[in-house]
């Protein structure tokens, strides 16, 4: 049994982590810290936590509560972890950070279990990947055996919860409803994260990345296209995907003509992947829940690995 504190607990990903942890057989909820909502009931903020009696504690409460061996999930805005993780680590906690703060920092292990399972198991500080990188890497990494393509195109469609719970005009219902909106046309902060990991794995190609907001709250579909210089054999490619995910419980590889479904993965830590070959172009689709495998679910998967629990523990997918 491990005590898990959550810092920056009033965001969507944090609420999803808390929901998962409530039913986790080896986790005990510790302090839930929110700078902006101290003293308020979580049930008043999140319908999924309506039955609970949990309340937010104020600034500094996690640091005061943490003892050696505890886990801390940092769900706050970018910048918070950079400030607070050192103190928590010094107090003996192991930290999983949902923000981008440590994703490019060598003091943290990149928390992508389908590639770094062993390193995560030994990590004190895990930088949980972004949602777009998670889905994109799941779609593309099995191509590593085919050498580098000439060009990569990633066309991603995400629910708006990825924009967080801090209110902005662009995330209002009236703005998102009825629209399909490309954004970040000048570059998105997730692009270098995808790029770094692909190159690290040996896939070295220019990348065009186009994120879109679609009118759903949760879920994400990534269509990744790898354009090679030669035609690839469809059977060989499909076999590579099947092999890559053979012992990966969270990834379901579908037949080439079956589309991953967002509704099939929302609420779970599951990813659905399908791949097809069109001459020199490979098209790989991946659906995840941006708050599940793209954030909180993956954080719990990392927690399980760090503390020696079964990888799927508490995760229904």
């Amino acid at each position: 049994m491990t005590r898990v504190h959550v810092l920056g607990a009033s965001g969507y990903a944090a609420a999803e982590a808390i929901r998962i942890l409530q039913a986790h057989p080896f986790a005990e909820l510790g302090t839930l810290e929110s700078a902006s909502h101290a003293g308020e009931s979580l049930a008043d903020h999140f319908p999924s936590l309506r039955g609970s009696a949990l309340a937010f504690d104020g600034p500094g409460s996690v640091l005061a509560a943490v003892t050696k061996g505890d886990a801390v999930i940092m769900g706050g805005s970018h910048g918070i972890a950079r400030e607070q993780a050192p103190g928590l680590l010094a107090a003996g906690a192991r930290v999983i950070d949902l923000s981008a703060d440590f994703r490019f920092d060598s003091s943290a292990v990149y928390g992508f279990p389908e590639r770094y399972r062993d390193a995560i198991a030994g990590a004190q500080l895990v930088a949980n990947p972004g949602c777009y990188p998670t889905a994109s890497l799941l779609a593309l990494l099995p191509l590593v055996t085919f050498g580098s393509p000439r060009q990569l195109v990633i066309d991603a469609k995400s629910g708006i919860s990825g924009a967080g719970r801090n209110p902005t005009v662009g995330a209002l219902f009236s703005e998102v409803y009825g629209d399909v909106r490309a954004y970040g046309l000048n570059g998105h902060r997730h692009e270098p994260e995808i790029d770094r990991e692909l190159r690290g794995a040996g896939i070295d190609a220019p990348l065009v990345f186009t994120p879109h907001v679609v009118p759903i709250a949760r879920g994400m579909l990534v269509d990744a296209y790898a354009i090679f210089d030669r035609e690839l054999d469809a059977d060989v490619v499909r076999a590579a995907y099947a092999a890559a995910y053979a012992d990966r419980p969270m990834v379901r590889v579908l037949a080439a003509d079956r589309a991953p479904s967002v509704t099939a993965v929302v609420g779970s830590n599951r990813a659905e992947v399908s791949v097809s070959v069109h001459g020199a172009t490979v098209r790989a689709l991946c659906a995840i829940d941006n708050l599940g495998k793209g954030a909180a679910g993956q954080a719990i998967q990392n927690f399980n690995l760090m503390y020696g629990y079964p990888e799927e523990c508490g995760l229904d997918g």
Copy 2:
């Protein structure tokens, strides 16, 4: 031709007023003032104005620009009109205020044309009704000939644009999506407005009013129930509704078994009403666009009456 300025021009209702005015044969757009977005392009804020070259002017610009005979539509937050209308009136403008500031003030005419057409025609200052009152009054006022019911129940369902464009957590896509949410259970500021008008017309009964947010951006359906002490004759009631709206171009009375449709009125200034009798209870349904007949459309209808243009001018419903 009348010049129309818009003050508080960056909200949803103001944008809809501007959209209507652009195609209005007797209106010429004047200054569009926004305290928070001065210098920005309207096309960047509102998809419906994408083709225009309009830009917001800063604080004080309407007052500086206004000349005798101009019209000013005040679309800003509550409180602004209270401050600024006196100066605009003094400069010779006629003012239509979309906020609640003057709805209980005898210096303004209540801008509900289906009841106050003549007074509006002569008004210098018009307080445009709230969206809930507009739909509720259209549903209930024809009952005036039947005396006061024992009890009134109004169960209203509104799109979230009625909450405005100022970002709040409750108006985020992720919060509204998938939910049907009653609110204001302790009372809503529109309730006294409905009550005052009903009593003024001679319908004197206790009112229970329940507003709800439904996951649509625009549109509103009001189900109004009037419980009388005696059974009413269905034919007589239906005839009263038909008579009440016989020369009201904006109100379409449907057969008793036909439901008003939100999608039939969104984008227009039209209201759909249907009424049925169930023993001692009358059920009257009314659908409007909360930004149309419930705000900007009605403002233009008032503008038409004030300046002697045909009531429907520039309004496709």
Copy 3:
């Protein structure tokens, strides 16, 4: 451990029952019969069953498979249970019928556990209530101690999955999207079901029932208004609701100013209820998942009672 067969297994409620049963500790899935989809994979029909290897069997397969002590959930269209339940009962199965076939038949027990827990425990044939009656009765039955009101008004808002999976124009995305639609203005088949149960409990009053479709897939909110001849004491009414649901694990009574949330109950068997008093009118709101407490969840709750399992078993709410 009890074997549970599902007949008419390709509808939304049946799929939800199968999803719940897969995780139920005392249920073992038996034959899943679909006349229209025999041989097809359930994973191809329902995203929530994507990971399963289940397939539909053809007509007659449940009857052939059933043995004494088995349970059968009949999820099919109205009319099927009337034909097939007698044979299944004769074969020794206990039957829970989701259709309306036996709701007015004295050979079945009305499967509303909050009122008929004991009778359900001994039943061979249970007629599962409709979704509107379930939410309406939960909202109104605690009023029984206050005598009969003068008038009842039920204004209900439902997700479209209640219309079933048989494709009709009215249930198309393009028709439901953006609209709030009252229907059944001439009467809805659930109205006599509500009326019968209210009168049976001693609440004898004329009822006006207005169902609406709102643009959500799952979930339902019922606003019930009871107009009495006298003012009621708010504290006494609230105490009656608290008492009525004190030992009912599926019903959460909220404070009077808190609105039941559809998103808080979707995916669960939970109901949320809140009640407030406005002079002589009581307003009671109830939110359920129309496929959960309004159909499949309640069926499993009944199953638990019939077979002596804990009432909440396998139900997360």
Copy 4:
């Protein structure tokens, strides 16, 4: 003034054409034929036609009514035009077919005004393009001056109304809601149409086309990626797009960092296009209303050209 009949008038695109024609200054609505809904009121089918007194006529009624010089819009299912267009043409009508029947038939002119304006003007039979081809060609055709790319990828997101009004499980609200669904992974019938036109214009490259359904009723966004063998100059590419659409009133070219908006074009015949260059890859986005520029709007644009009316007449975009 030209009389316009509509055959197959009960579909979404036909209803949109009727809505546009009602306000068209040079069109007079003729016979509206629907095999399945003869005698029924259009107002009962389409909220946008709620105020009209129009009714469907039965099979054969357009052929009986048509006289020399009339126009017929065929909005029916695929296969109908193949049967009925010859008779209508023989009767002296000019025919615009919304189905795929004549898109690969040399007896018809392909009704894509941005490329075939002159041929359309003289045509007796126009095959209106599919919605995906319309948006894809608008996105890609200006690239013709740069030679053929090595590979084309088109990732398209469409509202579900493109699937028509014939009810299917896949188009139900409960199935579309909350999902983002790729389909046609084995090939879509619009792919050869896109391919034929691109090659005809001199863009000869393998194409991977991935259509998706997103949870909106109307509107479409196409992201087209052209991968060249060499880097392109961004200024030159942008200049080519600006030049291509300089005198095309229906196409609005945005700055490279501005995303086309679905909500900005829904309800209009407008297309929004933006293009950016990323090394050897050009990314061009195009948003249209699938029922507007993708179907009915383009049909009226073709009608205007055929009968010598101003190209934009009756079209607000």
